[in-house]
Every structure is written in structure tokens, then in C-alpha cells.
């Protein structure tokens, strides 16, 4: 085969692949945004217009049931929390929620010492891949995942980079589109925990850190916690920071927990918001109500939801 012919074939193959990947990227942009089970897509497609938003990682996601809360407070709430999410993740979710929905009256943002430490939760870049091009998204991605952001201009790389987290969502999105599905599997955003037995997390933690673990305060987490509060306050939303019950026996393995909580309180004071801790609840004393040190099981969640609803009611009356 002639050299020039090979060269032309190679160029044509690569060009064909480029065109294909550009098309596939567009298809994925569309498909992922049709997936009702993806909160960021759902809150932009449908009007939620909740009065109260709950935001944070898996703890509020698995513990706070809007259905229970709403019955007690007579308002509409929505659980915007997502598993493994950090504050940058929460910030962008709030940003997109507010784009298509009226501002809620209250935002309950989950903040604990774990939230400030990089070892807990993460920024889930792939959740925002379809929204690259939005200036706010771009600036957060550039800062939180520069290794990813470097590649996003190549055809399809914004999806290929975290492909394991994408294909299923895109296929499910197409299925929802063709079935005209409007409601997600969890319409109020609350995901009841599927694993109700004790998960041995504490035992593994003690094995890893027999002398306890001291939290590391991360500046970027602090920055995005502040940005989330600022974004809410700009929209006239009353912000509450809160910590759900923590299993008491685990506290002795966290020597600087109180110090970190003091720093969180300082942020709350700076922005003139409340920081409510539910750590004194009776359920915190027994494993019976927990599946891990931070996550209550269904039994514990029911009690916590009651207490949280009472607190929201009392704050409403103020």
C-alpha cells in the first residue's frame, strides 16, 4: 500500500471517529438530561417549587423523609441531597435548582466535621458533564477537578473520562424519554436506606485508626460551604446548618471533633445563620438506631425526622 494512501486512510478514520464522538457527545447531553432519576436533570425539567430544601451528602439523603416532615410542618419540602457529595457538588445542585424553581424559604444544609475533611465525600464531576459550557459549572470543575477539565474539549472526553458513571444514566435517560416518564423513582428526593443492618464501618475505622482520627480542615470545602450559603442568602433563602445524630461511642475516636465544630460555628456566626446539632438526641447512645456511625437506620430515621420536623416548626414560629 502506498504511504500517501495509508496516511489518507488514517486521517479519514480519525476524522470519522471525531465526527462520531461529537455526535455521541450531543446524544449523551440530551439523554442524561432526560433521566428523571438524576436530581440535577429532574429539578431542571420539572417544577419542584419546594418551601424547604435539604442539602448535603448521603446522611440527609438516606435519613430525611420530606413525606414525614411535610405532614408535620404543613409545607412542601424536597431532599436535594446526593450520596458522596461535597459542598462544591451541593453548591452546583443548588445553583441548578434555583435556575428552574422558585427560591425556597429555608435551606437546611448538612455540615459536620466530616464534611470539612477530604477523606469524606468528594466532588462528583461526572454529574455535571452535560452542563459544561455554563460559566459557573466550568469555574467549579476547573478548580475541583483540573485533571478532568483539561480534557473536556476533546470530543466525548467529558463523558469518556468517567464513563462508568455515565453509560447507564444515558441509557436510562433515553428509556425515560421514550416512555415519557416524568417522575423519578424517589419523587421527593429521599432514598430510604436499602441496607438496614450495622455495616461494621466503625470497626473498620478503629482498625485503621486505633488511636483515633483527627479531621483535616480543607480550605476548598470551606470555600464552597461559604459559597453555598452566600448563593442561598442572595436569593433570600433562610439558611440553617445542621448535624444529624452521631453515634456517641464513635466520638472518642475523633479527638479534634469539637475543635472542628467550633470552626463550623464560627462560619455560622459569620453568615448569621444557625448551626443546629442533633447530637444530644437519645438515639445517639445506641447502635440499635444506626447502620453506621453517621447514618441512622429506618427506625432511627423515623425518630430523627420527628425531631427535625419539630425543630423546623419551632423555627417557623420565630
Amino acid at each position: 500500500m502506498k504511504k500517501s494512501k495509508i496516511f489518507i486512510q488514517l486521517i479519514l478514520t480519525l476524522a470519522g471517529l471525531c465526527v462520531f464522538f461529537i455526535g455521541l457527545s450531543r446524544l449523551y447531553d440530551f439523554a442524561v438530561q432526560q433521566n428523571c432519576n438524576i436530581k440535577i436533570a429532574y429539578v431542571q425539567k420539572e417544577k419542584i417549587d419546594a418551601d424547604i430544601l435539604f442539602l448535603g451528602p448521603c446522611e440527609p439523603l438516606w435519613m430525611i423523609s420530606p413525606e414525614i416532615i411535610d405532614k408535620q410542618i404543613g409545607m412542601k419540602s424536597y431532599n436535594l441531597a446526593l450520596s458522596h457529595s461535597d459542598f462544591a457538588d451541593n453548591y452546583l445542585h443548588l445553583y441548578f435548582y434555583l435556575k428552574n424553581n422558585k427560591s425556597p424559604e429555608y435551606l437546611y444544609l448538612y455540615v459536620t466535621p466530616e464534611s470539612m475533611d477530604l477523606k469524606y465525600n468528594t466532588f462528583n464531576t461526572y454529574r455535571f458533564a452535560p452542563y459544561i459550557g455554563d460559566a459557573v459549572v466550568d469555574s467549579v470543575l476547573r478548580e475541583c477537578d483540573p485533571a478532568y477539565y483539561r480534557w473536556v474539549n476533546l470530543p466525548f472526553m467529558k463523558y469518556a473520562y468517567y464513563s462508568n458513571n455515565i453509560h447507564f444514566n444515558a441509557l436510562q435517560g433515553l428509556k425515560h424519554y421514550f416512555n415519557h416518564r416524568k417522575l423519578p423513582y424517589f419523587p421527593d428526593g429521599y432514598e430510604p436506606p436499602f441496607q438496614v443492618k450495622w455495616d461494621n464501618h466503625l470497626e473498620k475505622f478503629i482498625h485503621l485508626y486505633p488511636n483515633g482520627y483527627s479531621f483535616d480542615w480543607n480550605q476548598q470545602r470551606e470555600k464552597y460551604l461559604c459559597k453555598t450559603i452566600e448563593l442561598a442568602q442572595q436569593k433570600g433563602i433562610k439558611v440553617y446548618l445542621f448535624e444529624s445524630p452521631v453515634l456517641k461511642e464513635s466520638l472518642k475516636y475523633q479527638p479534634n471533633r469539637e475543635l472542628i465544630i467550633e470552626r463550623i460555628k464560627a462560619i455560622a456566626v459569620k453568615y448569621k445563620v444557625s448551626y443546629k446539632q442533633f447530637d444530644k438526641m437519645k438515639i445517639a447512645e445506641s447502635r440499635e438506631y444506626f447502620m453506621s456511625t453517621l447514618n441512622t437506620n429506618l427506625k432511627g430515621s423515623a425518630i430523627f425526622n420527628d425531631t427535625l420536623a419539630s425543630y423546623i416548626n419551632s423555627e417557623k414560629k420565630k
Partner: protein, 468 residues
């Protein structure tokens, strides 16, 4: 500089391009320089170690053919380097720092255990007068540190590589075939091996939680991961070498189609096994030939013992080696009986059964190879035999393998299983196309497409065999 990184591909692109246009007289000094740059990216101590070992062996070889003492001195120093390398890898370190230069890193140098084997082969060949010592230091150094093979082989014998230096012409066919092989290697690593890595990790690292069936599946997955990881690296090394004008033998030849363990070792890590066979097994069997069959068993045992010392120091490696020694000894012992029993049985079912048994035997030995300690491997084996069935199929079997209990995790796991199953089924055909010297745009498109769709870009693990 990882083999799977944009920087590496840029580096290879530049080196292949420049090398292609250089006149043949300048090619080997250029490749030597490129190899030093590549090794220098890892650390400066590796460059120093390589220079020291190259110069030492180069000059020692001049005295070797007339001097038994010089020969054994060379063998002891090169073998000692491998043992110390493994001693340090096992976590026993001393640190002597001198202006940011750590002496122990000399013995943890990139590729040391690979080029030490090459040095032993070189000194032996010269000592046995099967080749004359190389007279050009830069050529010898290039043989030593040729960057595509320095990280994890293939181990190249001097007689295969040195004669190619300075005589090569790079054809377009070699470029095409090399590129297609590199892509195949990237595919194997990113699309199959790295996709399985987290599932394998979850089984082996949280071993006590799982049933025997889960452990069994984990050991299968590790065997597949190991194969695709290592053969992927080897394909890349062979492919890049081809693009630079050098021919290096394949390191794998469809090992999962082996009908016996003996055949398996002829198809798996071929370069190491041919080294061990040439420089350990044959000399032992020849030396003890009066002892007839016992010489064979002794040869197998000592060959695998040396293989163990090369792989690492520890009970897990010892157990791994013992497993294979037992398998091979049983095969040797029962060869005649099996030949009688299975005469005429050459059906498809028989072949599949044999291949399945070999795969199981290999996977069982890999429980020792992959486990983080001997106690862990015993726990895994205990689960395998005394706690076989999972209580709940979804949470105790599928979830750990899929690293999560969500639909998305199961979907990804099923995709991985489909990908490696299809690959193994069509491997012979895929290899044929990849090694072909004809430009195949369908193959190229498909491989790039699959890498983009299913490759692991974000958390790819380093090549498993880099640790040896």
C-alpha cells in the same frame, strides 16, 4: 512517566517520529538518550543504577570467557541485586541520603530485576562462548535500557537484540503493525484490566466478609485482570519496539487455551519462562541427568524457586511456587497414564474441560499471588472450602464483585464480563488483525471506540508487573 498517560504517548510519538527520520547511524544513540530521559522521569537513582550495572557488566564480560571467577562474580552481583530489590520491595528498607540521593533507591531502580536477568543471560552466553562480548558500550547500554521493555520486560536475550542494533530499517508496515499492537495493549489495560481492578480489590481486601463462591469469582477475575494487564503492557512494549524498528518476541500466546499447566507455562510470560528454562531448568536437569525422573522434579522445583525469588520474598510467593511445582510434578508423573486414558478424547468438550481445569488451578495459585499476606490467603481458602454459598446472592455475591449494590454498578460489572468474555473468545482473530502489517481502519476505529466508551481514564492502576 506511566505507560498509560498522555505524557508517555506524546513522548513515544516524538521518539518514533524522530527515530523514523534519523539516519540509521544516529538511531541507536538517539534511542539511548530517549531511554535515559524516560528512566530519568522515574528517578535519577534509576539512571545511575542503570549506568553502574551496564558499565560493570560490559567490562566484566571481556574477562568472563576465560575466567570462571569473573563469571560467578557477575552472576552473584546481578542475582544479589534482584534479591536486594525484592528485600526492599518487601518493605525492609534502610535510607542513606546524600544530597537528596537515596542509596536504597539504587536497588529499587526501574527495571532492575529485568535487566539483571538479561545481564545473567549475557554473561552466561559469553562465558559459554556462544557469543562474543559486545565491544560497543552504547549498543550494550541500549540493549540494557531500551525504554519500551525496561519497566516490565519482555526479557530479551542478548542474541535476539544486540544484532538488530544499527542494522535496522523501519518499514511502514512495521509502523502500522506496531501502532495496532500498541492500541491493543491500551485496550487490554484500560478496557479490561482496569475495569476489573476495583472488584478484585474489594474481594481480596475485604476477604473475611465473603463466601467461597465470591472468593472463587474474585480469583477468576484476578487471573483475567492479571493476564490483560500484563499482556496489555507486553503488547505495548512489543508494538513500540516495532515502531522503533526492533523485533521483540511476544510474551503471551493465548494462555487460557492451554490444555495442561505445562502448556500454560509455555504460553504465559514466555520471556521469563524461556530464560528460566535456558539458564536454570536445563542446566539442572543436565547436571542431575543420572537421576532420571527425579532430575525433572528437581529441575521444576528449583526453577520455580528461582522464579519465586525473582517475584518476591514471602510465604505467599513460596506457596504460589509450590502450587505450580505440585501441578507440574503431577502432570509429569501422570503423563503416561493420561496419554493412555485420554487417547482418542480430543473433542471440543474435552478441550474446554481441560482449559477450565487449568484456569482453575492457575486461579487457585493466584489466591496466594494476590493476597496481601499469607494469613489472608489462608482465610480466602478457608472461605472457599468451608463457607461456599453466599447467604444472599445479590448483597453477598454480586455487590462485592460489582463494588456496589446499585443498578449502575451491576450494569458496569456485566459490561466488563461481556467485554472480556468476547475478547477471550475472539482473541486469536483479534491478535491476527492487530499483528497484521496491513492497515485495518475497521480494527483501529473499533478499538478507539471501545477505549473511549469503556476505558478507565480517571483511576487507572499501574501495571501489576511493575512491582517485580
Amino acid at each position: 512517566m506511566s505507560f498509560i498517560s498522555p505524557l508517555f504517548f506524546l513522548f513515544v510519538g516524538i521518539v518514533v517520529g524522530v527515530n523514523y527520520f534519523l539516519s540509521s547511524k544516529f538511531r541507536h544513540p538517539f534511542l539511548l538518550l530517549a531511554s535515559f530521559v524516560f528512566i530519568g522521569f522515574y528517578n535519577i537513582e534509576s539512571v545511575v543504577a542503570l549506568l553502574l550495572f551496564s558499565i560493570f557488566n560490559f567490562y566484566l564480560a571481556r574477562f568472563v570467557n576465560a575466567n570462571r571467577f569473573a563469571y560467578w562474580l557477575g552472576i552473584i552481583i546481578n542475582a544479589g541485586a534482584i534479591l536486594l530489590f525484592n528485600y526492599f520491595i518487601a518493605g525492609n528498607r534502610f535510607t542513606v541520603s546524600f544530597i537528596n540521593f537515596q542509596v536504597d533507591k539504587l536497588l529499587l531502580a526501574l527495571g532492575l530485576s529485568y535487566y539483571s536477568l538479561q545481564n545473567i543471560a549475557y554473561l552466561t552466553e559469553v562465558y559459554k562462548q556462544r557469543m562474543s562480548p559486545e565491544t560497543n558500550l552504547s549498543k550494550f547500554m541500549l540493549y540494557h535500557c531500551f525504554f519500551p521493555k525496561i519497566v516490565s520486560g519482555p526479557i530479551v536475550l542478548p542474541s535476539e537484540f544486540i544484532p538488530q542494533i544499527g542494522t535496522i530499517a523501519i518499514s511502514n508496515k512495521a509502523l502500522i503493525s506496531g501502532l495496532q499492537l500498541v492500541l491493543l495493549g491500551v485496550f487490554k489495560k484500560m478496557v479490561i484490566a482496569d475495569r476489573l481492578a476495583s472488584g478484585v480489590g474489594s474481594i481480596f481486601d475485604f476477604h473475611s466478609n465473603y463466601s467461597g463462591l465470591t472468593v472463587l469469582a474474585g480469583s477468576y477475575l484476578f487471573s483475567i485482570q492479571l493476564y490483560f494487564d500484563f499482556s496489555g503492557y507486553s503488547d505495548m512494549a512489543v508494538g513500540i519496539s516495532k515502531m522503533l524498528g526492533y523485533t521483540i518476541k511476544d510474551n503471551f500466546n493465548l494462555p487460557f487455551r492451554s490444555l495442561s499447566i505445562t502448556e500454560f507455562w509455555r504460553r504465559w510470560h514466555i520471556s521469563l519462562l524461556s530464560w528460566l528454562t535456558s539458564y536454570i531448568y536445563f542446566p539442572i536437569v543436565f547436571r542431575f541427568r543420572q537421576m532420571k525422573k527425579f532430575a525433572l522434579y528437581l529441575g521444576i522445583l528449583l526453577t520455580f524457586f528461582v522464579s519465586m525469588l525473582w517475584h518476591g520474598i514471602g510465604f505467599t510467593f513460596l506457596a504460589y511456587v509450590l502450587c505450580h511445582t505440585i501441578y507440574l510434578s503431577i502432570e509429569t508423573l501422570t503423563r503416561g497414564m493420561r496419554a493412555k486414558l485420554f487417547t482418542g478424547l480430543n473433542s471440543y468438550v474435552f478441550k474446554i474441560t481441560c482449559a477450565f481445569l487449568v484456569f482453575n488451578a492457575f486461579s487457585f495459585a493466584n489466591l496466594f499471588f494476590r493476597a496481601s499476606s499469607f494469613d489472608v490467603s489462608l482465610q480466602l481458602i478457608h472461605n472457599l472450602f468451608f463457607n461456599f454459598l453466599p447467604i444472599n446472592f445479590m448483597t453477598d455475591f454480586l455487590s462485592p464483585l460489582a463494588v456496589g449494590g446499585h443498578q449502575i454498578d451491576e450494569f458496569n460489572f456485566i459490561v466488563s464480563v461481556i467485554l472480556f468474555t468476547l475478547f477471550i473468545l475472539f482473541e486469536q482473530r483479534i491478535n491476527k488483525v492487530a499483528k497484521s502489517e496491513l492497515f485495518n481502519f475497521k480494527y483501529l476505529s473499533l478499538v478507539i471506540l471501545l477505549i473511549m466508551l469503556f476505558g478507565v481514564f480517571n483511576s487507572g492502576t499501574r501495571f501489576i508487573y511493575m512491582q517485580f
